[in-house]
Structures are given as C-alpha cells and as structure tokens.
C-alpha cells in the first residue's frame, strides 16, 4: 500500500467523526436546553468527573465484574457446548430446554437473582453477567462442534490421537470460528448486563454513577458517563477483534486458500 492510499484511508476514517463532533460543538455552543448542554461543558466536566478515585472506585470494579462473569461464561459455555455437541443423544435431550433459556431476555435475570440474594454485593452481578453471556457461547459451540467434518474426526481417531489431543486440537480448534462468533455476541450482552445490574440495585459502579448524576440533575456529568460507556464499548470490541484476529489466523488463511482455488 502506498503512502498516498494510507493517507486517503485515514482521511476517510476520520472525516465523518470530525465533522460530527464539530457540528455537535457548534450546534450546542450556546445551548440553553437543559438536556443538551454545550459540548464545551461536557468536555470540561469529563476531566473533573472521572478522576483517579472514580476510576478505581467505580469504573474498574465494573470492568472487573464484566471480565469475571464473561470469562466464567466462556469456560462453562465451551466445555458444556463441546459435551452437548459431541453426542447426538445429549443434544436432542437438551435442545428445547436450551432454546427456551436462550429466548429469555437476559435482563429479566436481574429480578430473579434479586429474589435469591437481594442483589447487593459483587456476586449477584457476576452471576447475572455469566448467565446472560452463557447461552450464545454455549449454543454456538454446540453448532460448531456439530458442524465438524466427520472425516476429520475419523482420521484423528484412526491415527490414534489421544482423546485429550483430539478434543483440544481437532474438536475445539475446528469449532473455534463458531465459538468466536458466540463470544462476540456474548460480549455485548455482557456490557449491557454490567450496566443494568448496577442500574438496578447498586450504589457503586459505572452504571450506578450515571444514574446518580441523572437523579441529581448533574446533566453534563451524566453525559460524560454516557460517553465513557460508549468509549468502553468501542475499546472492548477493538480488543476482542485483536484477540480474535490472532486466534483465528489459521482460519483466515484456510479461507483465502479456498477462495484462490
């Protein structure tokens, strides 16, 4: 790629966001409207609001809950999905039940879990995130394992690969593009549940702070919270893509080779 085309790409990528921010800046400049404060006020409030204290006290704990819940869902989902995917009988037994659990909108887990514990502390939040993230990962793993090439499995068996090797190298590896698709869906559900679990009954955390700003009518501060959540969403999806890119490098190579033939 020439320097010129790189520069052109960067210009294209930045043009619209810059235009939008400029429009927002000037359109809101003298805004008297209570709900839409001038962007200058919001930018000013950002630094004052999200201090180091606020980060360690609210933002990082929220992200910690998300990470814990998400990783737990990933481990349980992939393991259970592999077991269910490998056996036709187990799959048939579980399928309607799984379909039902998947169809329950994840936010209603919050009142259910609140029945058990009253929804204070960290554990119910992590459980909510895990239960919400679990279904897309689990069901995609089942699909991925089910879709594996029979010949591949038979070959691995006839070469007498050990069961463990077969499971990790052939089954999980082969299903990984599907697992990644599920993990991506789960990530956005996880972020939603992280926020909701704090809107519902917490006094700490990112979601709780935003609600506090809203209730105390600290409007520019509320806007900084919304923007911060947006930025976190973007950063998480970029991180996910980097990890996915590395993990599935073999898959892209395979696809490219198939296309060229």
């Amino acid at each position: 790629m020439s320097l010129r085309s790189v520069a052109k790409q960067i210009a294209f990528a930045l043009a619209l966001p810059v235009i939008l921010v400029i429009v927002w800046w000037f359109a809101s400049a003298g805004s008297e409207n209570y709900f839409w404060p001038p962007l200058t006020d919001i930018v000013e409030a950002f630094g004052e609001t999200w201090t180091a204290d606020k980060w360690t006290g609210d933002v990082l704990p929220s992200l910690g809950n998300l990470l814990a819940g998400y990783l737990l869902a990933l481990v349980v989902g992939v393991l259970a999905g592999t077991v269910i995917g490998l056996s036709r009988t187990v799959r048939a037994l579980c399928e309607p039940v799984l379909e039902f659990f998947r169809a329950i909108p994840p936010p209603v887990l919050v009142p259910i879990i609140a029945l058990f514990t009253g929804f204070t502390g960290v554990v119910p939040k992590i459980v909510t995130i895990t239960l919400g993230c679990l279904w897309p990962i689990l069901l995609n793993t089942v699909e991925g394992v089910r879709g594996l090439d029979e010949v591949l499995l038979d070959t691995a068996r006839s070469y007498r690969f050990r069961a463990r090797t077969r499971l990790v190298r052939v089954v999980m590896h082969g299903a990984s593009p599907q697992i990644a698709a599920g993990a991506r869906q789960a990530l956005s559900i996880g972020v939603i549940l992280m926020v909701i679990s704090e809107l519902f009954g917490a006094n700490r955390g990112l979601g709780a702070s935003i609600v506090q700003f809203q209730r105390s009518f600290a409007i520019p501060q509320m806007w900084t919270g919304i923007i911060l959540l947006g930025l976190l969403g973007v950063v998480l999806s970029v991180l996910f893509r980097v990890v996915e890119h590395r993990a599935l490098a073999w898959y892209r190579g395979l696809r490219r080779a198939e296309k060229e033939n």
Binding site: P17, A103, P107, I112, G207, G233, L236
Partner: protein, 271 residues
C-alpha cells in the same frame, strides 16, 4: 452420493427426528420435575424458587386477568413498532450507503464506532426526556436494532457480484432498476438475517426499558412482582417473556423461509 445412500439416509431421518422429539420432551420434563422437587424438598428455599405447579397455577390465573393481557399487548406493540422502524431505516440507509462507494468509506469508521455503544447507556437520557413513557422504550429499541439491520444490509450490498453489477451498468440500467433487480436480490438474505437478529435484540431492549425505567408492559410487571415478594408470579411472568422470545425466534425463522423460498440456502435443505 449415490441415490441409494440418499434414500436410506432420508429413511433414517424421520426415525431419528421422532427419537429426537421424544428426547427433547424428556429434557423438558426433567427440568420441570427438578423445578417441582427442588423447592418442595427444601434443597432450594421456596422463598427463592417457587415449585413448578405453583408457577403453573399462577400462570393460569394470570391468563384470566385483563391487566395481564394489557401488559402483554403493550410489550408486543412496543417491540413491533421499534422493529418496524429500525427495519425500514436500516434497510433504506444501508442500501443508499452501500451502493455509493464514497459514502461507504466515509461512514465505515463512524458505524464501527457507534455500533458497540451499549444502548443501555442511553437509559439515563431517555428517562430525563420522556420519563417512563413508551417513547423511552422506543428510542432504545430502535437504536439497538437499527445497527443490526444496517450492518447486515451493508454486507449484503457489498456481496453483489461485480461482474453482474458491471453488466447491468453497461446495459445502462437506471439507478432504481439497478437497486431492484441487482442489489436487492443479493442483499435480501442479509436483510432477513438482520431481521432475525434485530427481532431478538428489540425484545431484549423493550423488556429492559420496562424493567428498569418502568415503561408499562410485562417487564415492569416482573419488577413489581419481584419487589412485592410475589415469587410464583415473578417466575410465571419470566416464563411468559421466555415463551414470547421463543415465538419471536420461530416467527423470524418462518419469515426467513418464506421470503427466501427461491434462494439456494433455503432450497437446499428443503430438497
């Protein structure tokens, strides 16, 4: 594959299907039985988990209440309105942006940026502006499901075969007939996928808005039941919402089959 193998496979298919159905029902029965036994035997406190029979009784009683059906209607109406709006907006914007290369490269980064913003971040804002009115839910539903549709439509338009596009261009197709005869048929499977994803997301956000903001509907009823300690009712309503979710998934798949009857992806597994 020889015909011999094909027919024997198909013969085995229906037997297998029957067996699978029996197993599926067995799975459901096991779950219901556990749901009855665990709270009854005291392994799980009945204050937390109501036995299946009590949930069923409560559900039956609810079906006779007018208030339940009002909530049910409010939820479905909010879901359908939001979904319809985002389908129209997502498809129109997607086809326009997708068929103009300049617009596509201009908007790519912005779309990638706006899409992962969790729609729940907007909750405080809509609460301030609309309070617990249905508009609050509508904004959240449309925002969340719009991106699902838009991104799929963009993939779909990008998937148009360049040879076909160039051929149509050299025949001097007008812009409209280009969209109608070249772009639309290629993009349609993606539009339908967008519909399926958006239908599920729209339901999640509708219920969330009801639960968190207090927009009238089943979600709000769940919140009220939980905070007033009506345990069987809470579970009964969650089951209703789950069944609505299942119905939405089934409906989306039916639409997919119907709209794409001519398309190879569907014809393959029918034939």
């Amino acid at each position: 594959m020889t015909t011999d193998v094909a027919t024997s496979r198909r013969g085995g298919f229906s037997i297998r299907r029957g067996r699978d159905a029996v197993l599926g029902v067995t799975g459901l029965v096991i779950v219901v039985a556990l749901l009855e036994i665990l709270p009854r035997s005291g392994i799980i406190d009945a204050r937390f988990l109501a036995p299946a029979s009590e949930i069923a009784r409560e559900l039956g009683a609810e079906l006779g209440h007018g208030a339940f059906w009002t909530s049910f209607g409010q939820t479905l109406l909010g879901w359908a309105t939001g979904l319809a709006l985002s389908m129209v907006a997502g498809t129109v914007v997607g086809v326009i942006i997708g068929s103009v290369p300049f617009l596509r490269s201009l908007t790519a980064s912005t779309i990638e940026f706006l899409r992962p913003i969790p729609s729940v971040a907007l909750i405080p804002l809509v609460v301030l502006i609309y309070g617990s009115e249905p508009q609050s839910a509508l904004v959240l539903v449309v925002y969340a499901s719009f991106w699902q549709v838009l991104v799929q439509v963009l993939y779909g338009v990008a998937d148009v075969d360049p040879v076909v596009r160039d051929t149509a261009r050299s025949y001097r197709f007008s812009r409209w007939s280009m969209i109608r005869t070249v772009i639309w048929p290629t993009a349609l499977p993606y539009v339908v996928t967008g519909f399926r994803l958006a239908a599920a997301v729209a339901l999640i956000l509708e219920i969330t808005a009801e639960l968190i903001i207090g927009v009238p509907g089943l979600g709000r009823d769940i919140g009220v039941a939980q905070s007033s300690g009506a345990v069987p009712l809470t579970y009964a309503l969650v089951i209703v919402v789950g069944l609505v979710g299942v119905a939405v998934n089934v409906l989306a798949r039916l639409v997919e089959r119907r709209v794409l009857r001519w398309h190879s992806s569907v014809r393959k597994d029918v034939g």
